[in-house]
Amino acid sequence: MAQLFTPAATTLFRVAIVLMGLGAVSAGVLAYGWARSGSTWNVGKPAAQPIPFRHDLHSGSLGIDCRYCHSTVERAADAGMPSAQTCMSCHSQVWVGASVLDPVRSSFILGQPIQWASVHRLPDHAYFHHAVHVTKGVGCETCHGRVDQTPKTVKTQTMSMGWCLDCHRNPVPHLRPREAVFAMGYEPHGRDLPEDVRTFYQEASRRLTSCNTCHR
């Protein structure tokens, strides 16, 4: 009986094994890169909104404080969305006839809520508390980026669990003094903190990384 495999078959088989191995490794590398890339987490992708609201205008140019609209950010889990009444406190004076503001006016008159597309929505099993973060020195900018320069609201961070843990494992470099929490473009993270706060967070990292800190 003739040989089933030619001498070249061995070489071919070896090459195939190497290629398959390389393929598996590169698939892994690609998957790793894909899972961590910003686009997978919709970073930088704006959502279709009912009103072309511009943070860069309101927060940046006009200098309105974050808390004027997101009024419960210092005391509740939700930062709070401005009511149509809050919008109308200015827009009953300016841009009175603008058609882009029709949804605000109809909401105000008809009593129906405005439905915004959420850009930063976390999964249901993650319980995030704005007030705790804000009152303990996590700046708005740390998670939401330079809102004062963004025309359309977009994610600037992945908001993945790994990203949360980056900070929860060692919060100090990301914290700001209380007066700088709402500031934009604040640079020297963590350095201006008092010493007792720094030691507190160094000890608290075990508590901050317990599962039940964010999941219930």
Binding site: A47, A76, G80, S83, L110, H125, S210
Partner: protein, 970 residues
């Protein structure tokens, strides 16, 4: 017990005699060493072995299919942003922050009496009921019915449109029909109009009834409740010349004797009485109070009693008469007295005015009259018993259901209004209300469901749930609590107040009707008082004043004596889960193991072990029970401690039109209930040789080990052993808080409030009867019931068992995916997203507190509406292990509040759901790292012990041993 094998009492007794010491047993089957019981001790889910008879190839096919489909399921194209939009409200609402729950004080009715509650609402949706600490009937605790009202509110079977002969009609059509009828009645001054409603304590309803009486002077009112207090009313009227209610102060009592009934479960003030009894037990400066329960069926108060005397219902009159004679009231009957009477009389005489004798509502009027005489002789009136005007007054010209039946019979009823309740179902068997109502030319029913009464009435009008409407209710002591809506009506409807308001020409605005009542009562300063009463839930100082008594105690002889016929005594009792049947469509309550039988999804005829031995019956055997010529077939359940010669039937089952959950479950005890003797009748038992399956959880999650429930004498220590074992695992460091729990078995009365509270708080699924039968109920907290001693009159112990949150948790080390981990504060966290469902953790848990979602329980008919879910707790899916979390969401919320306010957490700030609902404060939760915290102080008690402590799991949940004075003698 082998299926169908008759119960052998002698064998059980011989078995017990060979045991050393007081052995605890869960069931009679366990005592006779049935193989069924061993299965439950050896495996947590014994039925899983049968379910998994799959050959290798099928298994491989299933595995590859699930892998492929699992991959597909991951391809989720939904965009979170669109599915869950961010909402900008139209207007700013002062006092309301989106996402932050709002708590509203209101009152909930049970049998016409009010219990104060605080309802937590999330975005206008009620999600949880808590007790109102300011309300005298609650003191911050709740019962199972109040907790479960949330599910009743969202019941999809609640009726939503008016019906005319079963056909839906618009509200306009209803109005067009009703208006001429009402005008005609006004002209006729109410001739031919009969109104049937349950008794109520509501001042507004009474005001509206009075006004309707003026408008319709010839209208006849009838009051009917299946759980009536007629015998009490007859006795009070005979003895004191007027109807009275009695309020007991258990904090002052040294000796409490109950004759039937259930002071801790069925009285209007039951939560308060349980709390007061425990307060009295905790008084360090006075010796422990004595609690004696004379009863036919084992009840919660009997389980807690120092001495229980099982007594056949027909012997109660003689017993009380002998007791009264021993105390110098009246003369003793000729029959031989019960051996315990003289001891009881001595105890009562010694305690004097510091004693209470209470008779249950099922006892005949003569017993109540004698009890009044005994209490008066002891001087209890004024010290431990307060007489007040009846909280649910009944005016003299009010008729009964029997009167109504006679009036219809004689053709005197042309217009019938059934205002709430479900009398066609709850009427005694000899009143065929269904056909009688059909004979009335025009009948109208106001009710929450299209129930048995709705279908026989020509018109049915949807009634609002008490959480959706305005009203007011008096508590057991007369204190008024306002009832305010905590949600917009989920379905259109009218409340009883609004209906009566329309009838009396006062308009349909419930709020205005209630305000008018109190405006009349208060006059000046109304606005301020109204606001304060709404906020607190209680009208201050509205408790009924003490009534001066003018008595003639020798009337007992004048009252009709019981005529004893041959046969077995048949006692009727409200059901611990569905009460009179009004909660039959509530999945939480249906699946709640009844305190003593641990039966779920059904009822049974309860009999004594002796009776079972005589008739050759075992639990689950059917009997044909005949009372006054009417018969029903029911399964029996052998209840240890039940009096021989009697059978107890609980009401509320066998409903045909309860809804998708409650239909056709159990048997209908009303079908044999006679109107002449609605509580205690005589009957005959026949054995048809059939079996009716019953589902009981008493064997589920059986623990193996010694000293599960410990009992000590006062002042004695619970710990005999438990030397510190060394462990291979490293110690956990705790810098901050370390959460722990202490459960006082001396305080636990087994009322189950904690179980339902946990279910409501933690979105726990209802699994349905078939799944419970397989041992797959999902309750995170169970209450184990143990008996000790002779089955004829055993001791009864309750033990709530949540997750122990062990320091050296056996579950943590065996999880292959690290889905159950130790938190920095000592909680045993369950990470649902990591769980792949190997169930190894559950297998390794000695306490059997882990629950597994075998099926998609959140997607069945039994599931609560998504609106009823607590948004702070993850809703678990199929294939995921879950268990008690120590209410980690509450810890998180309290910690967030403290951190935001930049202060440390205070002791008592975190309360778990079970702790909050407990009437006797048996459960205490807190920081064990803080030596001053309440839980730390309890854990210092000599009574403190760890469940199965010899396993060295170092549980964070520990128990405080029960205290029993009789243990001193041996």
């Amino acid at each position: 017990m082998r299926k169908g094998a008759p119960f052998d009492l002698d064998a059980v007794r011989t078995h017990l005699a060979t045991e050393e010491g007081a052995r605890l047993w869960r069931s009679l089957e366990e005592l006779s060493d049935a193989p069924e019981v061993r299965r439950y001790i050896e495996a947590e889910f014994p039925d899983i072995v049968q379910a998994a008879s799959i050959d290798r190839r099928t298994l491989l096919r299933l595995m590859s299919a699930s892998l492929a489909l699992g991959g597909l399921a991951a391809c989720n194209g939904s965009e979170a942003g669109k599915n869950a939009p961010l909402l900008s409200q139209s207007r700013n609402m002062p006092g309301y922050t989106p996402g932050v729950p709002l708590t509203v004080a209101t009152s909930m009715p049970l049998n016409g009496y009010g219990r104060g509650v605080l309802v937590r609402t999330q975005e206008g949706r009620p999600i949880k009921v808590e007790g109102n600490p300011l309300h005298p009937a609650s003191l911050g605790a709740t019962d199972v019915f109040a907790q479960a009202e949330i599910l009743s509110l969202y019941d999809p079977d609640r009726s939503d449109t008016p019906l005319q002969n079963g056909a839906p009609r618009s509200w306009e059509e209803l109005t067009n029909f009703i208006r001429p009828v009402r005008n005609e009645l006004v002209v006729g001054e109410g001739r031919g109009l009969h109104i049937l409603m349950p008794p109520t304590s509501s001042p507004t309803l009474h005001r509206l009834m009075a006004q309707a009486r003026q408008l319709f002077p010839f209208a006849q009112w009838h009051l009917f409740s299946p759980v009536d207090d007629d015998n009490r009313r007859i006795a009070a009227t005979a003895v004191f010349g007027r109807d009275l209610d009695f309020v007991y102060d258990l904090t002052q009592a040294d000796i409490i004797v109950t004759l039937g009934g259930d002071l801790f479960a069925e009285e209007p003030g039951h939560l308060r009485y349980a709390a007061d009894y425990q307060t009295r037990r905790r008084m360090q400066d006075r010796p422990l109070p004595g609690l004696y329960a004379v009863e036919a069926r084992l009840s919660l108060v009997g389980a807690r009693a120092d001495q229980r005397i099982p007594l056949r219902p027909r012997d109660f009159e003689d017993f009380v008469q002998v007791l009264a004679a021993a105390l110098g009231v009246g003369s003793a009957p000729s029959s031989a007295p019960h051996p315990s009477v003289s001891k009881l009389a001595d105890e009562l005489r010694r305690a004097g005015a510091r004693s209470i004798v209470v008779a249950g509502r099922e006892q005949p009027a003569r017993v109540h009259a004698l009890v009044h005489a005994i209490n008066a002789r002891l001087g209890a009136f004024g010290t431990t018993i307060r007489a007040i005007d009846p909280v649910r007054p009944v005016s003299a010209d009010t008729g009964t259901l029997v009167d109504l039946a006679e009036a219809i019979e004689s053709g005197g009823v042309s217009r019938l209004v059934v205002l709430g309740g479900n009398p066609v179902y709850t009427a005694p068997a000899d009143i065929d209300l269904a056909s009688l109502v059909r004979r009335v030319p025009l009948s109208l029913h106001l009710g929450q469901h299209r129930d048995e009464t709705a279908v026989v009435c020509q018109w049915h009008i949807p009634e609002l749930h008490p959480l959706e409407s305005w009203g007011d209710l008096r508590a057991f002591d007369g204190t008024v609590g306002l009832r305010q809506p905590v949600a917009m009506p989920l379905k259109p409807g009218l409340s009883q107040e609004e209906f009566l308001g329309l009838l009396a020409g006062q308009g349909p605005d419930g709020r205005a009707l209630v305000q008018a009542t109190w405006h009349e009562a208060w006059g000046e300063g109304f606005e301020e008082r109204w606001a304060r009463s709404l906020e607190g839930g209680v009208i201050e100082g509205s408790a009924s004043p003490l009534v001066a008594l003018t008595d003639r105690f020798d009337v007992a002889a004048e009252l009709e004596a019981r005529t004893n016929s041959a046969g077995i005594d048949v006692v009727f009792a409200p059901d611990p889960s569905v009460w009179d049947g009004s909660y039959a469509n509530n999945g939480w309550l249906q699946e709640l193991p009844k305190p003593l039988t641990k039966l779920v999804w059904g009822n049974a005829a309860l009999i004594a072990p002796e009776t079972a031995a005589i008739f050759g019956l075992s639990s689950g055997d059917a009997i044909d029970l005949t009372v006054e010529g009417r018969a029903i077939r029911a399964p029996v359940w052998i209840l240890p401690g039940h009096a021989p010669g009697a059978v107890t039937l609980t009401l509320g089952y066998g409903r045909q039109r309860a809804g998708r959950i409650g239909n056709g479950i159990g048997f209908d005890a009303y079908a044999v209930r006679p109107s002449r003797q609605p509580w205690i009748a005589s009957g005959e038992i026949r054995k048809p040789g059939e079996r009716i399956p019953l589902i009981s959880t008493q064997q589920h999650h059986s623990l193996q080990g010694r000293d599960i429930v410990r009992v000590v004498a006062p002042g004695q220590s619970a710990v005999g052993e438990s030397p510190e074992h060394s462990s291979l695992y490293p110690e956990w460091p705790y810098e901050g808080h370390a959460w722990g729990m202490a459960i006082d078995l001396d305080a636990c009365i087994g009322c189950n409030a904690c179980v339902i509270a946990c279910q409501a708080e933690n979105n726990i699924a209802v699994v349905g009867p078939e799944e419970v039968a397989k041992g797959r109920e999902m309750h995170w907290l169970r209450v184990d019931r143990y008996h000790a001693g002779d089955p004829a009159n055993p001791g009864t112990y309750f033990q709530p068992v949540p997750c122990m949150h062990c320091e050296k948790a056996p579950c943590e080390v065996v999880c292959p995916v690290n889905a159950t981990v130790h938190s920095s504060e000592g909680l045993n966290d369950m990470v649902y997203n990591r769980c792949i469902g190997t169930r190894t953790c559950s297998n390794n848990c000695p306490y059997k507190v882990r629950r597994f979602n075998f099926l998609d329980y959140q997607g069945t008919d039994y599931t609560a509406s998504p609106d009823a879910m607590n948004p702070q707790v993850t809703v678990r899916d199929r294939g995921v292990m879950e268990k008690c979390t120590y209410c980690v969401q509450r810890i998180g919320a309290a910690r967030a509040d403290a951190r935001v306010e930049d202060r440390p957490l205070r002791d008592g700030e975190v309360t778990t759901a079970c702790q909050q609902s407990c009437p006797t404060q048996a459960i205490v939760f807190g920081d064990v790292n803080d030596p001053g915290s309440a839980v730390s102080r309890l854990k210092q008690s000599p009574r403190n012990y760890a469940l199965l402590g010899n396993l060295n799991t170092k549980p964070r949940t520990t128990y405080l041993a029960r205290v029993e004075p009789s243990r001193e003698n041996g």
